[in-house]
Symmetry: C2
Subunit: 234 residues, 2 copies
């Protein structure tokens, strides 16, 4: 872990441990530099990351302040990446429905920019949050980047596997979302009625090289899923 990442973690932990509230002021740059024994540029970098994450806000000429959302029980909509890792607040489990190496459909091929003949791993899972059904997830991983997958791997965090075992860096994603009515198959899996409402999310994940490597579709159980999003004015 690099120096600024350590500082990021320490400042965040400090806010939690000391029960700091929204609007509470953090020490000055000088004091933070002394406290963590790092340079000003490391503090600047760490604070920018904490601001992006919605942990603090900075007011030019006035200081750095704590930002805390008030509600618990909401899933961070921007951090689906770290699904299993980040949701410390929740207990996540998966039931694997399928793991297959397949020829992608035209739609999947176009989204993932697959080359001709390129194969993808299709993974279908039912995901649980605190032992309740959270969503149906269908993912397509390019074999080019994920040469091997199995049922037992898919039972755990796939992104953890991709990052730790395969050494890939997942860098950003595009999400597309709308609300719809469940069809018969979906409602059966989610144990709901056909026609019940659902949040439908398509997500394209990119590696740090800018290449798309995973295309996923999620259908969320409307009674078991609620999300929060922290925006920063730009």
């Amino acid at each position: 872990m690099s120096k600024y990442q350590k500082v990021v973690e320490q400042i965040e932990q400090n806010i939690i441990d000391n029960h700091l509230q929204q609007g509470d002021k953090l020490p000055t740059f000088q004091d933070l530099m002394k406290q963590y024994d790092v340079s000003k540029s490391t503090i600047v970098k760490a604070l920018n990351i904490l601001e992006k994450r919605g942990v603090i806000y900075q007011i030019q000429g006035s200081g750095v302040f704590v930002r805390r959302r008030k509600r618990t029980g909401y899933i961070n909509f921007l951090e689906s990446q770290g699904f299993t890792a980040d949701l410390k607040e929740f207990q996540m489990k998966s039931k694997v429905l399928a793991v297959e190496l397949i020829q992608p459909s035209e739609e999947v091929r176009a989204n993932l920019k697959c080359e001709a003949e390129e194969q993808v791993y299709f993974v279908k899972r039912l995901r649980f949050i605190n032992d309740q059904i959270l969503c149906i997830e269908e993912s397509y991983y390019r074999q080019k980047f994920v040469p091997y997958l199995s049922r037992s791997i898919a039972e755990e965090s796939l992104f953890h596997y991709v990052e730790k075992a395969l050494g890939l860096t997942i860098s950003f994603s595009d999400k597309y979302l709308h609300v719809k009515k469940l069809d018969e198959k979906e409602s059966e899996l989610l144990e709901l009625e056909t026609g019940d409402p659902a949040l439908f999310v398509e997500e394209l994940f990119y590696l740090s090289t800018g290449e798309p490597f995973d295309f996923s579709r999620m259908v969320y159980h409307y009674e078991h899923s609620q999300f929060f999003v922290q925006s920063n004015g730009l």
Copy 2:
């Protein structure tokens, strides 16, 4: 407009004008400094903002690359702030249903951290996108910050009014979302059936001072609303 903001706009415009595609490489820092006649720190700041906005991605040691989402017709879920301004792609209109100065309910008071006796402007609008119903919006503005509101002001962009006429800076927001079934009143306004699906969003907007000034509830028409969200891995 500050120097780096100008560079942000110019680089973005340049990407659009030259039809640059995802993965296309931008000039080096040196070339950008020359091209826009600014310092390195201004370029760094501009590129960081463009990265946050999902316009580019940066690969350490390798360069700066264009990031473009492929789908049109989706609303930027993180930029509801600039609703009327940012949605150049869409035509936005509002039908004002109510503008009243009221005593806030306990729920509104708690969200906005109102002082005792503090009043709020309640604004209810039906919002249209390309002449189709987009959502029902109920907003509560603290009179402390928004001393005056009228029906004709509410017909236009309220955030534009708040920023331009009142000189306030809207800095960040917390969104909470889930999917639900429409009740009778909502379905009537949206011209849908009771029980039809809807995205329900509660949003708290903060000024640059960290003070909450607007609490809003939106109920979206499921057939006329779709969103995109660009996440950055952190």
